[in-house]
Symmetry: C2
Amino acid sequence: MTIHAQLPVDVLNARIAKIQSLLANTQAQAMLVSTNVNLYYTSGRVFSGYAYIPVQGQPQYFVRRPVGLTGDNVHYIGKPEQIADILTQLGVELPANLGLELDLVAASMADRLSRAFATATISNCSTVLRAARAVKEEYELDLLRQSGIKHAESYSHIKSLYHEGMSDLTLQIEIERISRLNGCLGQFRISGDSMEIFMGNTICGDNADNPAPYDFAMGGAGLNPTLPVGCDGTEIKPGMAIMVDVNGNYTGYMTDMTRVFSCGQLSELAVKAHECSRRIVAELAQMGRPGVEAKTLYERAVAIAQEEGLDAYFMGHKQKAGFVGHGVGIEINELPVLAPRSRDILAVGNSIAVEPKFVIPGVGAVGVENTYIVTENGMVSITNAPEEIISLDN
Amino acid sequence: MTIHAQLPVDVLNARIAKIQSLLANTQAQAMLVSTNVNLYYTSGRVFSGYAYIPVQGQPQYFVRRPVGLTGDNVHYIGKPEQIADILTQLGVELPANLGLELDLVAASMADRLSRAFATATISNCSTVLRAARAVKEEYELDLLRQSGIKHAESYSHIKSLYHEGMSDLTLQIEIERISRLNGCLGQFRISGDSMEIFMGNTICGDNADNPAPYDFAMGGAGLNPTLPVGCDGTEIKPGMAIMVDVNGNYTGYMTDMTRVFSCGQLSELAVKAHECSRRIVAELAQMGRPGVEAKTLYERAVAIAQEEGLDAYFMGHKQKAGFVGHGVGIEINELPVLAPRSRDILAVGNSIAVEPKFVIPGVGAVGVENTYIVTENGMVSITNAPEEIISLDN
C-alpha cells in the first residue's frame, strides 16, 4: 500500500515544488505538517504522523499509523521526538527555523514539536499551505468537476423525495441518503476555530432567521443546544421557502451548492430576492477573473442588493454573514474569501463557492449557490442545475 | 434566548462549582474556555466566544455569535482583546495565571489569547475540564441513558434493512437513515490531534483487517484516501461477519455500541471469539467499581483473550488498538481510558464504552461493545440489546 495512494507521482512532485517555492519566501528552511487535511495534500493520503518538507530536496514521511505503508521516504516512528534523529541519519541538515501549522495544531502539540527540534526557532507555515491549496492543479480541478456533477445529480432527486407532511428534518434525512447512495463520502472537513460541519443544512420558513454560532451564510436553530445550526423540525407548509444547502464530497474535493424549493406560493418579495441572487451570481461570474481583488466581488454583490432595495435581507436578516463566497477544496472553507476585508487576489485555478442569499421573514431563505472555477475568461460553474425555485408540491 | 438553553440553573451552578474546585488545585486563578465542546459544558449551549471561569465567583460569557443570547453575565464582544477590559469594568481582578485549553486551542489562537491577558502567565487547563467531564452528573447520566435507549432501538431495525446483494456501504447508509429518523443528531464530536469521525462504521469480511490511521478499535480501508476508515464497498457474502459500530448521539450525549451480524455460517473460530468478547464485557462490568484502576480492566481483558488462545486476533490482527474501552459523553472519547498505561481510577458516574473486539482473517470482525455507567456495584450497561451474532439472511 503506497503512501501516495491514487495521487500520480508527477502531480505530487509538482505540488511539493509549488509548496517549496512558497516556503522559500518565508524564514523557515523546512516545515513539519501534522494535520489530516495537509497530510493528504502533501502525501496523497491521510495517515497518523508527519510530513517533513524542506525548502529544497525530498519530503520525508514519518508514519505512526496505519501499518504497512510503503513508498520512498517513509519512516515508521512511535513519537515525534524521533524525527530529528532520523533526519540527521539521512544526512538532512536540520532547519534553523521550522514551520509548523500554528493556526491548526493545538498549542501543547506545537510546543512538543518545537522541543523535538530543539535547535530550531519556529514560524507559522499555515499561510504557505493555505496559499498553495487556493490554486488548484488540473488534477484537483478534475476531482472538483466530478464532485460537482455528482452533487447536481443528487439534487435532481430532491423534488421526488418530498411528500406532504414532511419537516425540514425528514426531507434532509432523505437528501442525505440519496447523496450517500450517489457516492457522497459523508464526512466533510472545515477549517477554523470552533467551526463544525455535518453533511449540510435544509432550512425552511422562519427557521432561516434563527441565528447560529457558526460563521456560515445561513443559520437555523438546529435540534439541540449542542449543535445549534440547521433544521429544527419545522413542518413544511404552503408559503414557505425550503433552502437546501447539502454539501458535496464525492471525491475528497468538496463542492458547495444551494437550491431553493417552495411549498405553495411564495411572496413576491421572496421571488424578487431569489432572482436578485441569480443576477448577483451571474454578474460575479463575469467579474471573477485573474488579478481581480476578491473584495470587489463582495462589494458588487452588496451594491446589487442595495440597488434592488433588498439589503435588509441580504446575507441574513437578524444576523448577517460577512462574506458572499469562499474557496472550496479539500476543506469546505479555503481561500480566496469574498469579503469586505479580504486581501485575496483571484487567480486561475481558484475554486470558489458564491452564495448570495436572502432571508425573507415569514417565508424563509432564498438564493442560489454554485461552485465556480476561475479561468482567464471569468468563473465557470461546476454545479450545473436549474437555478429557479422548484416547487415541491406541484 | 437564554444562553443556558435547556440546562437547569442548579445543574450549571453545581457543575461550575465542581470545575472551580478542580481549578483551585492548579496554579491558575481563572480559565478561559473557547472550544465548542467545553463552551457547551460550561454554559449549556454552543456559541462562538469564550467562557471565563474564575476560581471563585461567577462565570462570565463573552459572545461573538449568535445575536440575541440573554442571561446573567453575558457580554457581546467583537474580539477577545476586549475581554480583559470588560472584566476590569466589572470589578473582576485579572488572574496572575490564566488557564487555556492548550491541548485543544490552536497555537496561534492560544498566543493571541495570552496576549489579550497581557499581565498573566498561562497554564494548561485541558486536564481540569477532562477530569470534570469524566464524572457525569445525574442530569448527564439521564441524557446518556436516553441516548442508549434510542441507540438500541435503532439497532433493532438493522436485520430488517438487509437484502441480498447489499454491500457494507449500502447497509451502512440505511442504518444512518434509520438512526437519523429515530432522532440521531448526525454529527459527533471527537477529541485529539488528527481524530475525525462520521456517524460510524460498518465493516464486513476482510476489510476489518485493513488498518486505518485513526486510533479506533477497528479500521477498514474506507472509500477514498482522504477518509481511509470504515466500509469500502465490500459485497456482503456468506461466511462474512458484519460489524456495525454506528454511534449514538440522540441527546448531545453520545453512546457507543457495536453488534455483529452474519451472512451464512461463520467459522467456529469467529463464533468462539465473539463469545469470548461477551465473556470479557461481562467480567469487566463486574470489575468496574469506584477506586479500581482503569488499566486493570485492560489487563484482565488481555488475559482472558490469551487464556482462550485468541490473543493473535484481539483488538485487531495486522494492526492492534492499544485500549479496550474509553469514556463517552459530549465527545466520543473521554476519560477514563481502559489502556495499559492509563492512570485513571474509576469513579461513580463514569460512562465507559467497553469494546473487546477480534479480527478473524477470512471472516471479519466480531465482538460486542456496550456503554456502561460505573456504580458502587459495578458497571451497568445502558445499551441494552441482544449480544448474540444476529443472522441477516435467515
